[in-house]
């Protein structure tokens, strides 16, 4: 059932040992994949399945078993605050992904040029990638809080004379603090992904376009952007998915009730009333569904585009 794939650029083989190139018996194959399957399918997949079952009313260990019923979803979805939460979660995830993308593209393009300090700059721009989100949150509190550095600078130049006059950036539902942390942390990730794609594409096409009289604007939108699109799509997909499920930034920097979906799910799950755990599971599953549907639609749109321009 397994057949060897010829490795690229390999010379024709005179001798083919059974083990090396894929005539392995099915049992050996299954054994090789067992550990990874154990973690991903049994543990991770099992947990996901259990979450879906529980959200549908299956929790015999609590003495609750109304499976299958949509009671918990209905209770959750009937609340207008749930939909505000969905809106907030989507808003934070989308806004920060888009801002990070807009910042990352020019950065990746600039990094393809030679300049003094290029090696040092590699260290600088990758730093946020390496450290926990909570460091970013701490920095946001220091910089953007009412008593923070920006507020002090505003006082220094005479714009305000009391910390209370500084506009609230943190702990509002506009979420500028949350978005700033995500952008700070994820711009390097996107830059890296786009830069990696840029290294692989033929940049001479840009020059060709310039020689043929295209404006810099046209070159960017007609030549460069389509070339780096795979990097844009993959990195924004991962960042958006992460932002949908991020917990600590909305909890600490968010505006409180109504919270984002992950925070809601966590609050339900930690509630003293354990039957609310089922409600929490419904929130978790809703979050997975919303995130999954959006990512799927995004990927499908991208595939269609790739097909349209004839790259796939």
């Amino acid at each position: 059932m397994s057949s060897p794939i010829p490795p690229p650029n390999s010379a024709p083989r005179l001798f083919q040992p059974a083990q090396a190139a894929g005539r392995r018996p099915a049992l050996g194959l299954a054994l090789t994949l067992t550990p990874i399957a154990f973690v991903l399918v049994l543990l991770f997949g099992g947990a996901m399945l259990l979450a879906v079952l529980q959200s549908l009313g299956f929790a015999p260990w609590f003495g609750v078993n109304t499976f299958p019923s949509l009671t918990y979803f209905k209770a959750l979805w009937a609340s207008q605050f749930f939909w505000i939460s969905v809106g907030l979660t989507l808003y934070y995830a989308t806004a920060s992904t888009m801002i990070a993308l807009v910042l990352a593209i020019p950065l990746a393009l600039a990094l393809t040029k030679a300049f003094p300090g290029r090696g040092l700059y590699d260290y600088i721009y990758k730093l946020p990638l390496m450290i926990p989100y909570l460091v970013g949150i701490a920095l946001a509190v220091l910089m953007l809080g009412n008593g923070g550095i920006l507020s002090r600078l505003a006082a220094y130049v005479g714009l305000i004379d009391d910390p209370g006059q500084f506009p609230a950036i943190l702990k509002t539902h506009y979420g500028w603090g949350i978005i700033t942390v995500y952008v700070w942390k994820q711009t390097p990730f996107m830059t890296l992904a786009i830069y990696a794609v840029l290294l692989g594409v033929d940049r001479n096409t840009e020059e060709a376009a310039a020689v043929l009289g295209a404006s810099p604007r046209a070159i960017f939108f007609r030549v460069t952007l389509p070339q780096i699109l795979p990097g844009i799509v993959s990195s924004s997909l991962i960042c958006f998915a992460f932002n949908m499920g991020a917990f600590e930034a909305p909890l600490i920097l968010g505006g409180g009730f109504p919270d984002t979906l992950p925070v809601i799910a966590w609050r339900y799950f930690n509630d003293a009333d354990y039957t609310l755990q089922l409600q929490g599971m419904a929130a978790v599953v809703s979050m997975g569904i919303i995130s999954g549907v959006l990512l799927f639609a995004y990927l499908a749109a991208y595939r269609r585009y790739e097909m349209m321009i004839g790259r796939v």
Partner: protein
């Protein structure tokens, strides 16, 4: 890799932009370090009116860095836990992913696309959803609040990266050298240890560093599954930051939590340069 081109120099805008981004990324660390060294830093002063060192002689109780370095802050415990969990997760992840990557890179089999789909799921599903559902299962299995539980949980977000890195390396490898070793009478173990592993080393190092990095940065899974019993640098930081204010000791712990990332950054840049992150 780089060809000299007409447009190979920075435009004035790009020069400004690079500086602005560097300021955006590094700028906030300056007040962080100042805050960790401050004793009194009232609004609207741009610099502290009294510094830690000035007060150190006069104070009875530990201040800022004294606190950070004292056992009360639990910084050492958290650092040790972070490293142990990261190292264990990295070794386990490698052990699991090496055979899987080999199969995925070289063989075609029924259900391969299903395996690949499962491999991308942890990247796509929200971390909170993964954490809460795993917690439910781990409570049932008695793994909640244990090192084993946290290490297993850390495998889930790291496996996709590790498999991708190793699969890419395996695909570029070809099988000729292994075949020649076998023809010359090497055993399978010898082939793996003497031929395959050395050739895989760049990928193994890259994957291991990245896995360790991701593991040391994970907050939510550790927070949920550790049940408060096991603290790492991110969860310790959470307990200091969650109040929404940063005092001198919180700033000091934030600085400490940044250090592993800086060390890993130096290591990754040194050992693998750009290659490691290609494809992410």
């Amino acid at each position: 890799m780089r060809r000299p081109r007409l447009t190979d120099r920075l435009s004035p805008f790009q020069r400004f932009y690079l500086l602005a981004m560097a300021a955006f990324i590094l700028g906030p660390f300056l007040p962080l370090i100042i805050q960790s060294l401050a004793f009194r830093w009232a609004w609207p002063d741009l610099l502290p009116s009294e510094w830690w060192l000035e007060q150190r002689e006069r104070s009875i109780g530990p201040l800022a860095w004294d606190y950070v370095f004292s056992p009360y802050s639990r910084v050492l415990e958290a650092t040790v836990n972070t490293v142990i969990i990261g190292a264990a997760a990295t070794i386990l992840c490698l052990a699991i992913c090496l055979p899987a990557a080999r199969v995925l890179a070289r063989e075609r089999f029924r259900g391969k696309s299903a395996v690949e789909f499962f491999l991308s799921l942890p990247l796509i599903l929200p971390e909170a959803a993964i954490g809460i559902t795993l917690l439910m299962v781990f409570i049932g299995l008695g793994l909640a609040g244990s090192y084993a539980g946290i290490i297993i949980a850390h495998l889930i977000p790291t496996i996709p990266y590790m498999v991708r890195t190793l699969t890419a390396v395996y695909q570029g490898l070809g099988t000729e050298f292994e075949e020649q070793a076998m023809v010359l009478g090497a055993s399978r173990l010898q082939v793996f240890l003497r031929v395959t592993l050395p050739m895989l080393m760049p990928g193994v190092v890259a994957g291991a560093l990245f896995t360790f990095l991701v593991s040391t940065n994970i907050f939510l899974l550790t927070f949920l599954l550790g049940q408060g019993r096991i603290i790492t640098l991110p969860t310790l930081l959470f307990s200091k930051v969650s109040g929404g204010t940063i005092d001198a000791s919180a700033a000091g712990i934030t600085v400490i939590a940044t250090l592993p990332g800086i060390v890993l950054l130096l290591l990754t840049e040194r050992f693998i340069r750009q290659k490691a992150f290609d494809g992410y």
